[in-house]
Amino acid sequence: MNGPTAYLVHLLAWSLPVLMMQLALVGWRYREHTTAVLRAVLPPALGVTAWLVAGDHLAIRAGIWQFGEGKHLGIHLGAVPIEEALFFLVTNLLVVLGLALFWPRTAEAAGTRGGPAGVTP
């Protein structure tokens, strides 16, 4: 893993296939409600991403973690490498789409009575 695209490739190779699959499954499960579901879950993903990028900026300034020399593009948001911001975006998207897919199908199942965490449509 070398060169300025090392971090980006490592991130996208891992996450993009899963994200694409999740999006397809969300569309397949929610049908005409897909837009409503995405409008519900995307703002939290974007909000937490912005929050964590701000925190990451301070963490990097404090030297909590460091990035391998020559292994990222060299584009920064403050102190944050662009790949790192993309990492937060991607992982938050994986979380919210995963949650939508693991969301139980009936209102009863979401309550205290329990029920199957339906992943099947």
Partner: protein, 107 residues
Amino acid sequence: MTYACFLGLFVALPLVVLLTLWWRETVKRLPWKGLVLLLLVAYLTTAPWDNVAVKHGLWSFPEGKTWGIRLGYLPLEEYLFFGLQTLLTGLLAGRRLLRLRARGVAA
């Protein structure tokens, strides 16, 4: 600032505040089985990926900023981060999915 301070300030603190504020309305109504499943998937997928990245030097965690407990190539704090981030983002998104269902959308 240490890694633990970052975790506390930016992830654990907002999570605890939201869990407290939204206890009745959201937390008790969330489908926790789904969230636990999600946590499991998050750990199984992120842990190997992050270990490989650190092994190849994409990023590193200098001594002195962490507790010094390492599992594989990662400090213990990094594993806590995966779980806490999943819970924080999951809580915010879950609250909106509950509202969507309350409005009668078959989510």
